[in-house]
Symmetry: none
DNA sequence: GCGGCTATGTATAAAGT
DNA sequence: TACTTTATACATAGCCG
């Protein structure tokens, strides 16, 4: 009954969106602005809560540069470059190439994940159309997708950690 | 009245926290892990949605390096450095003890290896579970199968590479 | 394009296993 | 010790001025 007394909703509220390139240029600009702000805020919170250093560099759709740095961007980049340079110089080419190979691994994982999500969604729609029965609803749900996501993230983290540790060990134990 | 029939709440749910340095070391580590993951995901979404490039560098509480880069970290940093000529030479800055941390201590490395062994075992179990789980067999299609195969291959190659790089330690990995 | 407003989607602090 | 669950805090898509 109360429902009937409720006012007409003033807005549609936030709507779910697919994570894919936005076509509308104006929309893209707005989203970039909002999300960049959110990203920097998150980074700031991470730095404060965990007492760590971090830096972010972002180029806007119009190629304008935005950066975040705690304590400051250049200091973090110096650390990164120092470390990377040292890492590369310290050992043989195999090591550095291996390490470089894992730059962008995260993005690859995410792409694979997105592909798999789409497939799951497709199959799910197909199944719903067929309306075969309850087995489907019991078997495919967000949890499956989340598990897949966890798996991909775990795989990525695992590989990264293993290689980092393997490098460290190989330096200590020259075999 | 319905309230009286409701179960006692199982958890307190998320609670509001103040954004200030976390004191409990364990809590700090957990929060760092979660929020770093979230931060990277947000960055990834921003890059996809707005079709832009970005890079993030974070040092963990234990001074471990984590980086995100679209298309890759180094490219973004180069752009940044070239764009802002005010970047001091890395080598002239204070010594980078950053990557010295990667070598770590012997005991520390062994602990890490133990953790990774467990994690790998878990991932394998998860994959096996998926492979024989009913939901998978019932809802499978060729593309999904291929995708799973890709995961398995990735896992296999990971192990293979690990063997190649740390063959002396193979006795520590029972697979 | 910029900021404010909802309503809703998403991240995550704590508790549980 | 780490992973999962749950309830809640927080971020943000679509609108409007």
């Amino acid at each position: 009954m109360d429902n009937m007394l409720q006012q007409k909703k003033k807005t549609t509220g936030r709507r779910k969106i697919e994570i894919k390139k936005l076509d509308k240029e104006t929309n893209k600009q707005v989203t970039f602005s909002k999300r960049r702000q959110g990203l920097f805020k998150k980074a700031s919170e991470l730095c404060v809560l965990c007492d760590v250093h971090a830096a972010i560099i972002v180029f806007s759709p119009a190629d304008k540069l935005y950066s975040f740095g705690q304590p400051n961007t250049d200091a973090i980049l110096n650390s990164y470059i120092n470390g990377t340079t040292e890492f590369t110089d310290a050992k043989s080419m195999e090591d550095s190439s291996t390490y470089a190979e894992y730059n962008g691994q995260y993005e690859e994982s995410l792409k694979m994940l997105e592909m798999e999500k789409k497939k799951l969604a497709e199959v799910e729609n197909l199944a719903k159309t067929w309306n075969r029965g309850d087995w489907w609803n019991d078997s495919i749900d967000d949890m499956s997708i989340n598990q897949l996501e966890q798996f991909m993230i775990s795989l990525y983290e695992l590989r990264k950690k293993l290689f980092e540790r393997a490098d460290g060990l190989s330096m200590m134990f020259p075999f």
